[in-house]
């Protein structure tokens, strides 16, 4: 186990080789440069920042262009593509793509322009459609909506609120005007909320007529047009038509560019790499002819890098032990069984200086607890199958994905193990199928016992597992103190607690109350009882005397010691917390049983046809149950590790080792050039 030793590297090279050296280091991907002090910033750094901004913009624009292509017909990635991993590019292929970079930049601009034009036309068409909708009721009108009248007459075209008949409008006019029956009044349309009218009156009476109508809520047409509504409508329609045709043509153009998507993806990767490179350049110490880089790298990589840098570039390289005060980045390395849970440790926090890597002990319990919470052999088989198929089919998978799948593979194996011990295979499907379709009472019995038959026994087992888990945490704490040569703390923070908690648990098992619940009782001879009580007392006394060892004042020290002893209640709640192992396991089993029962009840009266119904309910129900309980098991396993287990010894706070490398999205670059 498990924290990789780090070395400090210092490189001093000539400025004209700076780009090559950085490119080499980026390909190796095993050096993490340390940032320099801000006061050492020089002019070349602003230049580097500008270059970086250029490449960042390039990546963002090309990405946007790729999205435009995606909207109009570049076929999207196949469903399992996230498992497939990145394609590896040789140096030649890389160079060939680099030749096309200029072309790609132009292409990106073109695609973005086309995409924007299509969007604009779509927006315009929406507006035009709205205009047509507004125009629709005026179609019967034989004059333009902007028609104002003749030499002696004036026209009023507009709407009145509410549905009105011609007589009703006449009545409105009649109130104010003497000659209203001589006017030309047409009702153009009548809707439930508005009535469109055309009124032609004598010029001198227009004012009075409009006044009368306005009092009744009259409004002139909002956007009058110089064309007859029918012609206007056909004009609008032809414009929509034209826009659509242009869009189709542009989309065809975009589709013909689909084959260029690969070089655009490469350009995004290229920009990302260059941007990362300039980010490092910004942090370099530079003089007129030389540059100076310092950083950390894993000790085992150091000789190779040192040799290559000297041989290829003639740079001055110095490898040294890191400064003991320095905040050295942390890299974990474990065996195949433990590596998958490193990401879980990382999700909590990387080990701080002087801390042990908890991965190894954690991995064992992680798989164990996960399996116990899911505890269904059928689900375990499914997980194992799914993970192993993916792992064998996609060899080129990204390592983070591979590790996640491996973690679930091991969890699945553990789930199978617990499932068979507890006799749960898709709930009780064997028994239900046997009794529903074959009328027999064959059932899959548990190899150990079924938790639903004897939940108290399972609860005690869960709590026992919890005590073991917590004591392992305490053991890790002691190992930690041992490593840091704090031998007295091994007693203060480890042994005393073992005596107290272990003693109390044993004492509880000798009580008659425990016997009522568990069905057995630990019988100790009187000497044993005395030793046990002595151990508890010793532990308690030890804790009272040493928990407050930070303070000089004895009164304060004892008071703080008593408070430390109060921490024993924390152990009580920690241990009880493991009862979730029983609860979640029961939940999986009971819901599985419910699904089978429903499927059986639905299928039984249907005879042969019932098999189909049974299968449908079975598949659907168990898919949901598996999904929900997978989530539950994952979340609560993490919780038991983070809160109960880590709480005993692990703080974290280390910085993750993030080497300068090419964090590309689409292509992997081969490490060796040529």
């Amino acid at each position: 186990m498990a924290i990789v030793a780090m070395k400090q590297i210092t490189v001093c090279g000539l400025k004209h080789q700076q780009a090559d050296i950085l490119a080499y280091l980026q390909r190796c991907g095993c050096v993490q440069p340390a940032p320099i002090a801000p006061e050492a910033a020089s002019i070349s750094q602003t230049e580097a920042a500008q270059k970086r901004a250029f490449y960042d913009k390039g990546a963002a624009e090309t990405k946007a262009a790729l999205e435009v292509l995606g909207t109009y017909g570049v076929k999207s990635a196949p469903p399992l593509s996230m498992l497939a991993g990145r394609e590896t590019l040789s140096q030649e292929a890389c160079n060939a793509y680099m030749q096309k970079n200029e072309e790609t930049i132009a292409l990106t601009a073109r695609i973005l322009t086309l995409g924007k034009a299509i969007q604009d036309r779509k927006a315009e068409n929406q507006r035009l459609t709205a205009q047509i909708a507004a125009l629709e009721p005026w179609l019967p009108l034989a004059v333009p909506t902007s028609f104002e009248g003749t030499k002696t007459t004036e026209a009023l075209i507009g709407t009145l609120p509410g549905p009105l008949t011609r007589e009703a409008v006449m009545a409105i006019l009649a109130e104010k005007l003497p000659h209203f029956e001589t006017y030309e009044l047409d009702i153009v349309f009548t809707h439930s909320d508005a009535t469109g009218i055309f009124l032609l009156c004598r010029k001198e009476e227009r004012r009075a007529a409009e006044g009368a109508l306005r009092a009744a809520g009259f409004m002139r047409v909002a956007n009058p047009s110089t064309h007859i509504p029918e012609i206007k409508k056909s004009r609008l329609q032809s414009r929509i038509q034209k826009n659509e045709e242009s869009n189709e043509a542009d989309i065809k153009k975009l589709q013909s560019l689909a084959e260029k998507a690969d070089q655009m993806r490469f350009y995004i990767d290229y920009c990302t790499m260059r941007s990362e490179e300039y980010a490092v350049t910004e942090a370099l110490l530079q003089s007129r002819y030389a540059f100076f880089l310092t950083g950390y790298l894993p000790a085992n990589e150091a000789p190779e890098i040192e040799q290559q840098l000297q041989k290829r570039f003639g740079a001055a390289v110095e490898i040294a032990e890191p400064d003991p005060e320095a905040d050295v980045p942390v890299l974990l390395k474990n065996n195949a069984f433990t590596t998958p849970v490193e990401s879980v440790v990382e999700a909590y926090s990387m080990p701080a200086k002087g801390e042990l890597d908890p991965s190894v002990v954690m991995s064992l319990f992680y798989y164990l607890l996960f399996g116990l919470m899911l505890s269904d052999a059928g689900y375990g088989v499914l997980i194992v199958l799914a993970c192993s198929i993916c792992l064998t089919k996609f060899k080129n998978m990204e390592s983070s994905m591979k590790n996640t799948l491996k973690m679930f593979l091991y969890c699945g194996i553990s789930t199978m193990f617990w499932g068979f011990l507890q006799g749960s295979f898709f709930g009780d499907v064997v028994g239900v199928v046997a009794s529903t379709f074959f009328g027999s009472n064959v059932a899959l019995g548990p190899l150990w016992f079924a938790p639903l038959d004897d939940p108290m026994r399972m609860l005690l087992f869960a709590l026992l597992l919890g005590i073991i888990h917590l004591f392992c945490g305490l053991a890790m704490n002691m190992a930690q103190h041992f490593k840091n040569k704090e031998y007295r703390e091994i007693f203060y923070d480890g042994i005393f607690w073992y005596l107290l908690i272990g003693g109390l648990v044993l004492l509880l098992t000798t009580s008659s109350m425990f016997a009522d619940v568990a069905g057995f009782q630990l019988a100790l001879p009187p000497v044993g009882m005395t030793i046990l009580k002595g151990a508890i007392l010793a532990g308690a006394l030890g804790i009272i005397l040493t928990s407050g060892r930070d303070s000089k004042n004895w009164v304060v020290r004892i008071l703080r010691g008593l408070y430390g002893l109060y921490g024993a209640t924390g152990y009580l709640s920690d241990i009880l917390s493991y009862s979730r192992l029983l609860a979640l396991g029961l939940a999986t089993g009971v819901i599985g049983t419910v699904i089978n029962k429903m499927a059986g009840m639905a299928a039984e009266p249907l005879g042969g046809f019932g098999i189909i119904v049974f299968v449908i309910i079975f598949l659907l129900g168990h898919a949901i149950n598996l999904g929900i309980n997978l989530l539950g098991a994952y979340v609560h396993t993490n919780r038991l590790q983070f809160v109960e287990f880590f709480g005993k010894f692990y703080n974290g706070g280390g910085r993750k080792f993030e080497p300068f490398a090419a964090h590309t999205k689409y292509y992997k670059l081969s490490k060796e050039d040529n």
């Binding site: 999700a347 009862s579 979730r580 939940a587 989530l631």
Partner: protein
Amino acid sequence: MNSFGVALALIGGALSALFACVGSAIGVGRTGQAAAGVISENPSMFTKVLILQLLPGTQGIYGFVVTFMIFINCGIFGGSAEMSLAKGLLYLTACLPMAIIGYFSAIGQAGTAVSSIQLVAKHPEQFGKAMILPAMVETYAIFGLLISLLAIVNIGKLPV
């Protein structure tokens, strides 16, 4: 012996599913709104916020489990519907922890999950921690489930 006990037991079962599921429905509804807000800004966060959205949904499932245990124990799925009044009342009481804790813990967990969703929106790499915070609240729902289940299983063995 009479069948009034079964009615009481069934009331208990109904309460358990009712309150726990209503709590979960409210909770998942709230987290869903927050999740949709995050997705509107960044669709690639879908899987992460979906997991966080589902966290307050488990109380409903626990309530359902307790209800189902009542069904089995009081003979709804076939068997004798004879149950003493005392036993029925015991079953009803056994359901209360799940019903009440389920309701409140689902809503409490939803509040934490909403905050976690906002946390993940800002710092997607902190997903692990964001998930643990709502899971803390769930502990109490699990205790409720455990108490109800243990009680139901053991009431069957009581000579009342």
